[in-house]
């Protein structure tokens, strides 16, 4: 299989997945009690009847089911998610405002998790069977078993309530002007707890996977060949072991991206982080399902894009792309 074909296939798959999300949203709307318009408008009867009527028309609820799906698909493809009935503002605008905060949080957590997970996982594998390995593996097992939001609450209790070291609420101090530098520092301090909480859980996962992958590669014949050539241990480690062991991590990490963004709804709720996750929680509380479904669609789109990027990376890193197919 040629590389172009592989990537085209992956892109087609990405489009298919997004269409799947649209269908899923559509099905959920139909499964919900009441018709789609009343669901989207929040509690039945809570919204302005004129608004509901307009929604009904926009959604084409008077037409056949396939037509409704077509109308829905068209509007989502245009990134037209309609209005939020609470704010009376376009849903897209509301989400766009909140997206940077979530990206900051999740990317920081992801970067930390990946770097620490790979580093610790390879150290554990290199010293497999030793005390160090047992300790590192133990840490990974512990963090993997902690519910994210609970770790967050415990971190707040310890570092904010009892030790009073770190802020636990929001993204920056309220009403603080100050220079750019102090703003950045302020955000950074606010970022520490939520990013670490989210990051440690995923670090545990990457550590586990890296360790297994490295151990697997260490057993391969080509590592023995490298030794037979008399290569220095450092070179064997970098060029032969890690280079091959990290290939599956690319795919794995990109698959985890969706989970990480999903995890941000819990973390943002616990730390009152003003991002999309917190927005999703508010939408949930206020039964603003139009907003909630839009968040779901956009998050899925982001995940699909991340996976596509990972596919490109994979093609660049592995000359035998057939294996990834």
């Amino acid at each position: 299989m040629d590389r172009l074909g592989f990537l085209t296939g992956r892109a087609a798959r990405a489009v298919l997945i997004l269409f799947g999300v649209i269908v899923l949203n559509f099905v959920l709307l139909r499964l919900a009690p009441g018709d789609a318009a009343s669901v989207l408008a929040g509690d039945q009867g809570a919204a302005d009847p004129a608004f509901v009527a307009e929604l009904r028309h926009d959604l084409g609820l008077d037409r056949s089911v396939p037509e409704q799906l077509w109308i829905y698909t068209k509007s989502l493809a245009r990134l037209d998610f309609g209005q939020s009935y609470r704010d009376q503002r376009p849903v897209l605008d509301i989400i766009a405002e909140r997206l940077p905060a979530t990206l900051l949080l999740t990317l920081t957590a992801f970067g930390f998790a990946l770097a620490a997970g790979i580093a610790l996982g390879s150290i554990a594998a290199r010293h497999a069977g030793s005390l160090l390995d047992t300790v590192l593996t133990g840490i990974s097992v512990m963090f993997f078993a902690m519910p994210l939001f609970w770790t967050g609450l415990m971190a707040i209790l310890l570092f904010s309530v009892w030790l009073n070291w770190l802020p636990s609420y929001g993204m920056q101090r309220v009403g603080e002007g100050g220079s750019d530098v102090s703003l950045v520092a302020d955000v950074a301090v606010h970022l520490i707890l939520p990013a670490l909480t989210l990051g440690l859980f995923y670090m545990a996962i990457y550590m586990r996977v890296t360790r297994a992958s490295v151990l697997d590669v260490l057993d391969r014949d080509f590592v023995r060949t490298a030794r037979a050539k008399g290569l220095k241990p450092g070179l064997i480690w970098r060029q032969h072991v890690l280079r091959n062991a990290l290939l599956p991590i690319i795919t794995f990490a990109s698959l985890q991206a969706g989970q990480l963004i999903g995890g941000s709804i819990l973390i943002e709720t616990v730390f009152a982080w003003p991002g999309v996750g917190r927005l999703a929680f508010d939408a949930l509380m206020q039964r603003d399902y139009n907003l909630l479904l839009a968040i779901f669609f956009i998050t899925s789109a982001i995940v699909v894009v991340i996976n596509l990027v990972a596919d490109f990376l994979y093609v660049a890193a592995d000359p035998r792309i057939e294996l990834g197919a």
Partner: protein, 544 residues
């Protein structure tokens, strides 16, 4: 000649819970400068462990040198540090492994991997190294050296990969080249080329070669001296032709006698009965997945208009190298695979492939290659043997009775029925596999490389058993093999396949002595140990 390597009383310990204490026990041997020493033995003889020990490549956690010395160029290296060993490996000791695919790093170009071996031992500056990589690619006769060094391992053939391994191993002009079964995974014609290359390199560089193999034919072709090992000990050592022609130890004699003699002992020209299986114009293409925007999918033609007839009671050996389509043909015959065009008639009836009528299936049965994969590890032998027979309508009692009879027939105890496959050795499992095929009382047996995974002594037993049973039951047999020696022992007729076509079809004796096609001639010429074959023949006739 002076000794390059002297091994003295070497013992290598296995981990505590292994089935024996020592992998290598009190072994002493020497390798002279410039000689080819063959280390021969069956699986579990400790030959590979010994080779790994010389290069300091023992897996540290599992195996360790328990006693004895390994002197390399006068210096004891049995206990030196990993760092000191590193300076020897790749520099003075080169190593080639069995599996050329898995022995190369899949994500680095082969040029890079050769260059690495140079850089590890100060192979000059970048430019000098690049020039040397090209030189090595030429010396190992890699085609189109300038391009091929920029390719990745998966883009090369098996033989080319092994050439790359050799290039890496000799890159720093070592004194010793250790080759651990370097041709076992290769086709015979490729094997012959690689053997020739290794000898040529020895000639040019004057290095010593420790060549590990299980194949006495290969030994005959390349060895100056031979060391025979069994269960970790040296059984016999001596000059190659002395050991081959007049082995002094009973074990060596048994091993050598088990090697099938190539020349067909003038087949008892039995009249091949009426055509029983008739294959006409069988064609099959394995298609790659077609990309949606492409009109036509590319594909490989596994079968390309194959015509084949097997008479009642006849044994036809289907010989070919990997990719020749021989396995695909066998799968079509037993109904594990479909074909695109052509027909298959059996006992006067048209047969389909995978959609074959269930009632016709029992009449054509199969014996598989890998004795470890062909028996369901979760079922007892009883179920393995009787399940299909009962599904096909035999009563439980009759099936049980037939099973007991067959277990005895294939040389096993009837008590074997209550055990699981893992309780048996490879040869015993192959007997169970044969009994399973016979349970359905087939008329035609398709045997796909049934002895190629077995040690040579076991191989001979299974071949004898197959021949015996075939004769007693009057079975027809399609025997698929890559090994002309094996074919010559069992076959009435030999059919040679190449790239999906049949290129030779004739009585065994004729194909082995006067092959009509170039390819069959090339295959025959590539059989290892041809020169030895002649002296064996003379010894045999002298004895008779």
């Amino acid at each position: 000649m002076s000794a390059l390597v002297e091994i003295d009383g070497l013992s290598i310990a296995l981990p505590d819970h292994a089935d024996r204490a020592l992998a290598v026990e009190d072994v002493s041997l020497r390798i002279d400068r410039g000689e080819v020493l063959c280390l021969v033995g069956e699986s579990g003889s400790g030959k590979s462990v010994l080779a790994a020990a010389i290069a300091g490549l023992l897996p540290a956690k599992q195996l360790r040198v328990a006693a004895g010395a390994i002197r390399f160029d006068g210096r004891d290296i049995a206990g030196i540090s990993e760092a000191s060993f590193r300076l020897l490996r790749g520099k003075r000791i080169g190593f080639i492994f069995q599996e050329p695919m898995s022995a190369l790093n899949p994500v680095l170009t082969i040029g890079r991997q050769i260059e690495e071996a140079l850089a590890a031992h100060d192979g000059g500056d970048r430019k000098a190294r690049a020039a040397r990589v090209l030189e090595l690619a030429r010396a190992t006769r890699l085609p189109d050296p300038e391009t091929i060094i920029h390719r990745y391992p998966h883009q090369l053939s098996g033989g080319q990969r092994q050439r790359v391994m050799i290039a890496m191993a000799i890159s720093n002009d070592p004194d010793l080249l250790i080759a651990d079964e370097p041709t076992t995974a290769l086709d015979v014609t490729t094997q012959a080329e690689i053997l020739r290359l290794i000898l040529e390199i020895r000639e040019r560089l004057g290095l010593a070669i420790l060549f590990i193999t299980h194949d006495f034919g290969v030994v005959a072709d390349i060895a100056d001296r031979v060391v025979v090992m069994k269960e970790g000990r040296v059984v016999e050592a001596g000059r190659a032709h002395d050991v081959l022609d007049a082995p002094s130890q009973p074990y060596t004699r048994r091993l050598i006698e088990a090697v099938p003699v190539l020349h067909a002992s003038a087949t008892d020209e039995q009249d091949a009965g009426d055509p029983f299986l008739v294959v006409r114009g069988l064609t099959k293409t394995y298609r790659d997945r077609r990309a949606p925007w492409r009109r036509q999918a590319s594909g490989t033609r596994a079968l390309d208009g194959v015509d084949l007839t097997i008479g009642r009671g006849e044994t036809v050996a289907l010989v070919g190298e990997s990719g020749s389509g021989k396995t695909t043909l066998g799968q079509c015959v037993v109904g594990l695979s479909d074909w695109d065009e052509g027909s298959l008639r059996f006992d006067g009836r048209d047969l389909a492939g995978t959609t074959r009528e269930r009632t016709l299936r029992p009449r054509i049965q199969m014996v598989f290659q890998d004795p470890f994969a062909s028996l369901n590890p979760r079922h007892r032998v009883r179920r393995i043997l009787t399940e299909a027979a009962i599904v096909n309508g035999l009563s439980y009692e009759r099936a049980e009775e037939r099973m007991s009879r067959l277990l005895v027939r294939v040389g096993l105890d009837p008590g074997a029925a209550d055990r699981f496959p893992h309780a048996f050795s490879g040869g015993q499992r192959q007997r169970i596999g044969l009994a399973r095929a016979l349970m359905l009382e087939p008329d035609l047996l398709v045997a796909d490389e049934p002895v190629s995974a077995l040690d040579v002594s076991i191989q001979a037993q299974i071949l004898d058993l197959l021949a015996e049973i075939k004769r007693d039951l009057g079975l027809s047999m399609l025997f698929i093999t890559h090994d002309l020696r094996v074919a010559s022992v069992i076959a009435d007729r030999i059919v040679v396949m190449q790239s999906g076509k049949i290129v030779e079809d004739g009585p065994a004796e004729q194909v082995l002595t006067r092959p009509g096609s170039d390819y069959a001639r090339a295959l025959l010429a590539a059989v290892p140990g041809l020169s030895w074959e002649r002296s064996r023949e003379q010894i045999r006739t002298a004895a008779e």
